[in-house]
Symmetry: C2
Subunit: 211 residues, 2 copies
């Protein structure tokens, strides 16, 4: 399998549920594709619906034009959990969780599937919002490019825990440990026409941690 880990095999995430949890928590994916022999990496909104990953293609006309063909793409979602400070410069690292999906993208053309994917994208970013917004019109669906990617070929990697110094370095008197990283969300800022509208529950309690 091409997503096999070549380095740090101990960092492999084995359980499928753990892989899906990373995809559920992430907000943005980095999509890699080849255009005229050159690799491009573009940040894109995504959502998971069962065993399928949907990508919002509008971010790049380039992505949409390439994935009309049978070319392969790579989708990577990375969550940063901490900066790992070891006593030696060499053993500094990051705590993270990362998923890589490889596959042949499929352009979504069926209107019903497209509508489902559209809702999944909104609900992925803000659960509860799908019901509380004006749904996409037929024309809006038409001009939105959506790509589906099967989740069959994917792998995940993570690093957790404290730094790992060598025995010889352990007694050095440098501070060592982890600086935790978190993605946090501020007070919702209404636009000028929404100041009188109560902030919805799904925003006041917004949190991406998934169980």
């Amino acid at each position: 399998m091409r997503t096999k880990l070549r380095r740090h095999p101990e960092r492999r995430v084995a359980e499928r549920d753990d892989i899906l949890a990373i995809l559920n928590e992430g907000l943005v994916a980095h999509v890699g594709f080849i255009d005229d022999g050159v690799p491009f990496v573009i940040p894109t909104m995504y959502a998971r619906d069962g065993n399928v990953l949907y990508l919002h293609g509008a971010a790049s006309g380039r992505l949409m034009s390439v994935t009309g063909s049978a070319d392969q793409i790579c989708v990577t979602v990375t969550l940063l959990d901490g900066i790992v400070l070891a006593r030696s410069a060499f053993n500094h690292s990051m705590n993270y969780r990362s998923v890589i999906v490889l596959g042949n993208p499929r352009r979504v053309t069926d209107e019903e599937e497209k509508r489902r994917a559209f809702t999944a994208l909104i609900e992925h970013v803000v659960p509860g919002r799908g019901e509380d917004t004006r749904g996409a019109s037929a024309t809006e669906l038409e001009i939105t490019g959506i790509i589906a990617l099967d989740l069959s070929e994917c792998s995940a990697k993570q690093r957790t825990g404290p730094p790992k110094d060598t025995k010889a370095d352990e007694s050095l008197q440098y501070w060592a440990g982890v600086l935790p990283i978190e993605m946090t969300f501020g007070q919702p800022l209404p636009d000028e026409r929404a100041v009188e509208i109560p902030v919805p529950d799904y925003l006041r309690k917004y949190d991406r941690k998934r169980t």
Copy 2:
């Protein structure tokens, strides 16, 4: 230029200083490269030294083996600033800043440059740490793969501000605005041998916002 924006040209970041500021603030890059005809995207630590981007190659044996050749790579750094909630599902978006760099990677072999890159990597992640850690030995430098990429071909894109609804949607009574996103850092967690060592200033005041 291949990094030309095809969509949303108004989102282009024109000033070079603004492009560099995004690179300075980011913690992780997503590196895209082609291996045996397949595009791969891998999260990697990076640092900028003047007009050169250094990538820590240890994250992937695959990356290092590919970039030994003349192949091109793409390095993308993305900062998320907010979730943009419009009245219509269609106009939902993200506020973000993103840089894309394309080029032919160069494997760093000169020991002096390698040491400089190594320090740049540590200082990029934790400014001030370079002086407060055991520096890399000759052997450690030897086994660390570092890639240099010229910053000559790069572009940046950003979206800021409130949602943009159509005139027809503006009177709809859905909440609309921005949910700000921030990367925050928790209390430094010392490992068991560092509990007695005072937390260094550069960690207590840690912040990635750059001016």
